[in-house]
C-alpha cells in the first residue's frame, strides 16, 4: 500500500503508552490523587476527573460511531462504570487510558448490536452526522473527505472500524490503540491494515488534483 498521500502503519518505540493518553489538565492535583480520593467516595474528586476527561471520552464515542446519537449515553455509562470499578484500577495514574478502553468497549458493543439488528432487518443504517464529527471551521474538502470515509467505515466490521478510527481519525499511536481496544499490537496492526486496504480500494476523491 505504498503511497505518498496514504497514512502508513509504523512502529513507534520509546515513551510509555500512557504518556500520550494521560494529559494533566490541571497543574494542581493529579489523576492519581483524584482517583485515590474518588475511591473513598469523594464526589468532588470524581467531578474533577470527569471534567478533565469527559471531552476525550465524548470525542472517542462520536468519532468511532460517526454520529452523536447515544454518545452522551455512552459517556454517561462509561463514567458510571468507571466509578463503580475504580477499586479495580491498578495503575491509578492511567485513569484516562482506562476510561478510554471502557468507552471503546461500550461503543463496540453498540456497533455490533446495531450491525446484528441491521442484518436481521430490524434496524436501518444509522445516518452519518457530519456536523457531529466535523468542526464548524472545517474546510469543504475536509468535510467531503470525512463524509466519504465515514460512509465507507460503516461497511467495515466493528473491530476494524474502531482500530482505524483510533489510529487515523483520533490520531493515537499504535501502542495506545492496542491499549484502548485491549488487544495485542499485532492484532491492531492487522485490523488497521485491512481497513486501510479497503478504504484505499474504495475511496474516490471528490476534488481533482490542483482543484
Amino acid at each position: 500500500m505504498p503511497s505518498d498521500a496514504a497514512p502508513r502503519l509504523r512502529l513507534i518505540s520509546g515513551s510509555s503508552v500512557s504518556a500520550e493518553v494521560e494529559r494533566p489538565a490541571d497543574p494542581g492535583i493529579d489523576d492519581e490523587r483524584l482517583v485515590a480520593r474518588a475511591r473513598k467516595g469523594d464526589l468532588l474528586a470524581f467531578e474533577l476527573l470527569y471534567r478533565r476527561h469527559s471531552g476525550f471520552a465524548l470525542n472517542l464515542a462520536v468519532r468511532i460511531q460517526g454520529s452523536a446519537i447515544d454518545a452522551e449515553d455512552v459517556v454517561h455509562d462509561a463514567f458510571l462504570k468507571a466509578n463503580e470499578r475504580l477499586a479495580e484500577l491498578r495503575e491509578t495514574s492511567a485513569f484516562r487510558a482506562w476510561l478510554g478502553s471502557i468507552v471503546v468497549r461500550l461503543v463496540r458493543t453498540r456497533l455490533r448490536r446495531k450491525r446484528l439488528l441491521r442484518s436481521l432487518g430490524l434496524a436501518n443504517a444509522e445516518p452519518i452526522e457530519l456536523d457531529a464529527i466535523a468542526s464548524p471551521n472545517a474546510d469543504p474538502e475536509s468535510r467531503v473527505l470525512l463524509a466519504q470515509v465515514y460512509s465507507l467505515l460503516q461497511t467495515l466490521p466493528a473491530d476494524q472500524r474502531i482500530a482505524w478510527t483510533l489510529r487515523y481519525v483520533d490520531h493515537h499511536r499504535l501502542e495506545v490503540v492496542a491499549k484502548l481496544v485491549d488487544c495485542s499490537l499485532a492484532t491492531v496492526k492487522r485490523r488497521i491494515l485491512r481497513a486501510q486496504r479497503f478504504l484505499n480500494e474504495h475511496f474516490v476523491p471528490a476534488f481533482a488534483e490542483g482543484e
Binding site: 500500500m1 505518498d4 498521500a5 496514504a6 497514512p7 489538565a25 490541571d26 497543574p27 494542581g28 492535583i29 493529579d30 490523587r33 480520593r37 474518588a38 475511591r39 473513598k40 467516595g41 469523594d42 464526589l43 468532588l44 474528586a45 470524581f46 470527569y50 471534567r51 469527559s54 471531552g55 465524548l58 470525542n59 462520536v62 468519532r63 452523536a68 454518545a71 452522551e72 454517561h76 463514567f79 458510571l80 466509578n83 463503580e84 470499578r85 475504580l86 477499586a87 479495580e88 457531529a132 464529527i133 466535523a134 468542526s135 471551521n137 472545517a138 474546510d139 475536509s142 468535510r143 473527505l145 470525512l146 470515509v149 481519525v169 478504504l199 475511496f203 474516490v204 476523491p205 471528490a206
Partner: protein
Amino acid sequence: MSRRRLPEIPKVALRDYDGSEQSVAVWRRLKSDLRVHRPRESRSPWLLVSVPALAAVLFGSGVFVGARFLRPQAMPFVQAEPRLQVAPAAAAVPTKNTAEAEVISPEAKVSQSHARRSTRLSASAEPRSFGSLDTSAHPAPAQTLTPEWQRLVELGDFSGARRALDRQGGFDVAMSHASPSELMSLVDVARVSGERGQAISALRQVLAHAEAPEAPLAAWTLGNLLDQAGDQPGAAQAFALYRRLSPAGDFAEDAAARQVDVALREGNLELVTQLAADYARDFPHGRRLSEFRRAERALSARDQDASTKPEVVRDEADDDSDDTHAAPAAATEPSTPNSGEAH
C-alpha cells in the same frame, strides 16, 4: 473522477467536545446517578489467596489435633512437622484483627522475610493482617504510626473514622499535626458527619500550605461550604483564591462564575461589572456569559430606576412590593448576612 489513495484527515477538521454543552449535560445526569451507585469495595487478590490458605490451615490443624489425640505415640514427629509447614500458610491467613492487634499478637514465629513482606503490604491500602508475627524481633513497624481514623477513612468507613477520632483525642488534636493530604481526609470525615464548621477549619488549615497540591481543591471546597453557610463574601474570597492558585484549573470558569453570582446576590453593580468583565476576558466562550450580561443590564436598569424615581413613588412601590419584579432572579435574592461560623 479517478480512484486515489486516502488522504490524511487533519485534526483541525474534527469537532472537539472538550468543555462542550453535551459534557455538562452528561454530568448533570451522572451526578444524580452517582449518588445512587456507590463505588464497589476493593476486591483484594489476597482474598483469593487467603481462602485456600485458610482451608489448608484448617485441614492441617485437623490432622495435627487428630494425630495428637488419636495416636499419642506418634506425637513428637507429628508435632514437629506441621508446625514448620503450617506456619508460613498461617501467615497468609487474613483475619479481622486491626493493625495494632496483629503487631501485639505473639503466637507464631515467622521468618524475617515474612515480617518485611507484611510490613510492606500494610503500608499500602491492601487489607493487612497476616496472622500473628513475632514482635520481639520486630517491634512496632510503620503501620502502628498510621492512626486508626485514617485507616478507616482509607476503607471508606467515615462514621467509624469519626468514632476513632473521638476516642483518640478529637478532631482538633488530629488536625493540629496533620499534613495537607490528611487534612483533606479530615474534611471528608467532618463533612460526612455534618460538622461543617470543622470541615471549614480543616480547609483553612490546608490553605495555609498554599504550595500543597491539595490547596486549589481545598479553596474550591471552602467556597462551596461557605456559600452553603451563607457567608457570601467568604465564599467569593475562596473562589478568588482558587483562581489564583489554579488559573487554568478544572473549576476556574466555575469559580469566576460563582464570584459573579455572589456579587449579583449582593446587588453590587460595580463589582458585578468588574467580575463579569473578568469572566468575559478569561472565558470568552464561557457558558454563562450571556446570562451575566443580561443580569448586569437588569441590575443597572434597576439601579437607575431607583435613583431617578421620586421618593413618593418609591414609597408607593415599596407598599406594593412590586419593584423587584423587573430585576433578574439572581440579583433579587436577599443577600444573606455573614454566618460567623466561617471565621
